[in-house]
């Protein structure tokens, strides 16, 4: 199943977990879990807009407009993921 999810990501213009769940006839929850597994195992790399800022938001004058608050996520298939898809 994980390879199928990876293939769906590869073929998509953008990621919609609902779309993938519908196409694979699985629940969205399971697809979410599959994403976590693929990220954990290094097949996917997530860029969730968290900018790894070391400063404390409470004292930061820019906390209000910080990118950490923007709900946006991007995902990349890693070389390991590409190798799996090529198999």
């Amino acid at each position: 199943m994980l390879k199928k999810v990876l293939k769906q990501i590869k073929d998509a213009d953008y990621i919609s977990k609902t779309n993938i769940a519908t196409k694979l006839n699985k629940s969205v929850g399971l697809i979410e879990d599959a994403f976590s597994q693929l990220i954990r195992m290094g097949y996917l790399q997530v860029n969730d807009n968290k900018n790894n800022c070391n400063s404390n938001c409470n004292g930061c004058p820019f906390a209000n407009s910080c990118a950490n608050q923007l709900a946006s996520k991007a995902i990349r298939i890693t070389e390991k993921g590409e190798r799996l898809l090529a198999k």
Binding site: P61, F62, C66, S72, K73
Partner: protein, 669 residues
């Protein structure tokens, strides 16, 4: 005393069950050596007392977080008599992954199929007998929030305590892996390990580093040549096995749910998907984004200016008069009265006057953000960015830059590729930040009051286009190389909440007001001192220090059509903080004659054409000191900070000159 542990995914209702079972009879501490909270309580049932332990919520039992390690160590080492696995009935497929891992551990499991009522509402039905048989464990439906099914849950759990049962699932991982498990089990047997050998074998095949370290340091194992050799061989193959093992777990779950759980036909196309077919369409996406932004700017003027416009101006005027009268009454020195009324009220007041429009603009932007549309906007721009050789995610930092360029530049940290990051940093100052808004608003009020939305839209658009153009130039000259490729995830659309929208608006407006009260106040104070010195000259005149600086700078802007010393000194102040442009103009133009509104003063100092060229200059020229400082910090280079300051000035100047010269040739004035 027998112990019952509660384990489950986050938000499965585990803690609700724990509270329902233990009531006030509980205490909270920490698990040894970690900061994870440990909750324990007592349950009295059938005249017996049981120790109930609430384990941290987790999706799996690997070794990737403290929560996971705490939960799995407790189950394997402390061996509770029974483990109640709280499963969210509305999301059973995902929750059963944890169940599978619990069964692999050989724990005595009872499943609390929680939120059963919600599942019913969602028309999810369960064949509980089949589910129980397939999993090999009791499955009890519960509604923890209403305390339903809890007696049955405890009754089944207590009944298991003294029973000898084998809960290992009939789960085959495939011939190869099963053989490896058996081989490893043989090597691990009789070694007096903390964990069951079957489970250790699986974890070794999954490449679990924690377990590798454990067995590598075990005295009975690290002396066995056979085991060391097996372990070394395994390390190279484990990564492939891991995927197969996880896949087998999913297969196991699918086989069970296919026969035991019926879910209503999944809506083939959700509402979000339907909307996205239009909003993210290859051809329609971009024009829709442009239209939405145009609508936002138009509404900002319609609501902000026509309904709320003038409110703040009247408040500031009244406040200014009151303060001035009070200062006269208490016989304050003339310089103080001049400083307050002509410096602070005219300068800071000129900035604060535009708060109503900023309120409306950020409220509308908040609506777009909270609805999930902004992620679509970033996606729509993604393809264009890639076509230009830029990383699609750069647009996220650009969107953040609309609020303020400092966090916009900090947001480029999410870009991994150094090339992408540098380009995103260098082009971010072209995104029109909130501090530049009052400048446009004054000039729009003075020259284009009927087309405010349109002018604002084109200014923002111009900022984006210049940023993209410069990005393209940089990617082909200074920073050649491949951009990293990311696919954007689009969150589902959601109804914006009043709370989120208001909070977003307040965050921006309060930040704006805070800056007005601190940075702008400081800038205005310095500029006021420069505007009244040296003693003996007419304050705010060309003879003052500020006037002399302005006169020295003004020729630079002659080709752009605005060569007054006031405009030059305004732009100079804008490098300290962008609001300084309007604060300075407010002080040196409007503040000099009592009752002269800034807008009227601007009308006499500029023409519509020079107003446009001035707005373009302020949009594109050198960012404020805080942004330059951030570029230095983020690039760790004074060179790039200086480059940003200079090249943006050149672009701004060039833009303003082009507009003025071409406009003049075309007969505009």
């Amino acid at each position: 005393m027998a112990t019952i542990a509660l384990v489950g995914n986050p938000n499965s209702g585990k803690t609700t069950i724990f509270n329902a079972l233990t009531g006030a009879n509980q205490h909270v501490g920490n698990w040894p050596g970690v900061t994870v909270e440990k909750k324990e309580g007592k349950l009295n049932f059938n005249k017996k007392t049981f120790n109930i332990v609430d384990l941290p919520g987790t999706y799996s039992l690997g070794a990737f977080s403290e929560d996971e390690i705490v939960a799995r160590d407790y189950i394997l080492k402390d061996r509770p008599d029974v483990v109640i696995n709280v499963v969210d009935a509305t999301n059973i497929e995902r929750n059963l992954y944890l169940t599978t891992q619990l069964l692999e551990m050989g724990a005595k499991v009872v499943i609390a199929l929680n939120m059963f009522d919600e599942a019913k509402e969602k028309k999810i039905t369960f064949d509980l007998d089949s589910l129980s048989k397939k999993l090999g464990v009791p499955v009890i439906p519960t509604v923890a929030s209403k305390r339903k099914g809890l007696d049955q849950l405890i009754k089944n759990s207590v009944a298991l305590i003294d029973q000898e049962v084998n809960f290992a699932p009939h789960l085959s991982y495939g011939e190869n892996i099963d053989q490896e498990i058996n081989k490893l089990k043989g090597l691990l047997s009789d070694k007096n390990l903390d964990y069951p050998s079957q489970w250790i074998a699986i974890k070794l095949l999954e490449g679990d580093q924690y377990i590798y370290d454990l067995v590598a340091n075990h005295k009975g194992l690290n002396t066995s040549d056979e085991f060391i050799s097996a372990l070394q061989q395994l390390k190279t193959r484990a990564k492939d096995y891991e995927l197969d093992i996880v896949n087998k777990r999913y297969e196991f779950i699918s086989n069970i749910t296919e026969l035991s759980v019926t879910t209503p036909e999944v809506m083939v196309v959700t509402k979000s998907d339907k909307i996205d077919k239009v909003f993210t369409n290859k051809w329609l996406g971009m024009p829709i984004f442009a239209l939405i932004m145009l609508l936002v700017f138009q509404l900002t003027f319609t609501v902000g200016e026509e309904l709320l416009g003038g409110v703040m101006a009247r408040v500031i005027e009244a406040l200014g008069e009151t303060i001035e009268n009070y200062l006269i009454t208490i016989k304050s020195p003339a310089w103080l009265i001049a400083f307050i009324s002509e410096g602070i009220i005219s300068g800071v007041g000129a900035v604060v006057e535009f708060v109503p429009l900023i309120v409306v603009l950020y409220m509308l932007m908040g609506l777009l953000e909270d609805s999930g549309y902004m992620a679509r906007a970033a996606y729509v721009m993604d393809s264009l960015m890639r076509a230009l050789g830029l990383q699609g995610k750069t647009f996220i930092s650009m969107i953040v830059g609309f609020g303020c360029n400092v966090p916009g530049i900090m947001a480029t940290r999410t870009l991994e590729n150094k090339k992408d990051r540098l380009i995103a940093t260098l082009i971010n100052p072209f995104m029109s930040c909130g501090a530049r808004l009052p400048i446009y608003l004054v000039f729009i009020a003075a020259f284009f009051p009927k087309h405010g939305g349109l002018v604002l839209f084109f200014l923002y658009l111009l900022g984006i286009l210049v940023a993209l153009l410069m990005g393209k130039i940089f990617s082909e000259t200074l920073f050649k190389g491949e951009s990293s490729y990311f696919i954007m995830e689009l969150p589902p659309y959601r109804r914006p909440t009043v709370r989120n929208v208001l909070r977003n608006m307040w965050d921006n407006v309060s930040g704006f007001l805070k800056r007005a009260g601190t940075t702008i106040f400081a800038v205005v104070t310095i500029l006021w001192i420069l505007a009244v010195l040296p003693f003996g000259v007419e304050p705010y005149s060309a003879n003052s220090i500020l006037g002399q600086i302005g006169l020295w700078l003004a020729p630079i802007f002659k080709p752009a059509g605005f060569d007054s010393w006031q405009a030059a000194v305004g732009l100079f102040a804008g490098i300290a903080a962008k609001e300084g442009v309007i604060a300075t103009l407010g002080m040196v133009c409007a503040g000099v004659e009592e009752g002269t509104a800034l807008v009227t003063a601007i009308q006499s100092a500029f023409t519509p054409l020079t107003a446009v060229s001035f707005m373009i200059m302020t949009l594109l020229y050198t960012p404020c000191a805080a942004v330059i400082g951030t570029v230095r910090k983020e690039t760790n280079s004074y060179k790039w900070a200086l480059f940003t300051a200079l090249y943006t000035f050149a672009i701004g100047w060039l833009g303003a000159v082009l507009v003025f010269q071409i406009g003049s040739l075309l007969g505009f004035s």
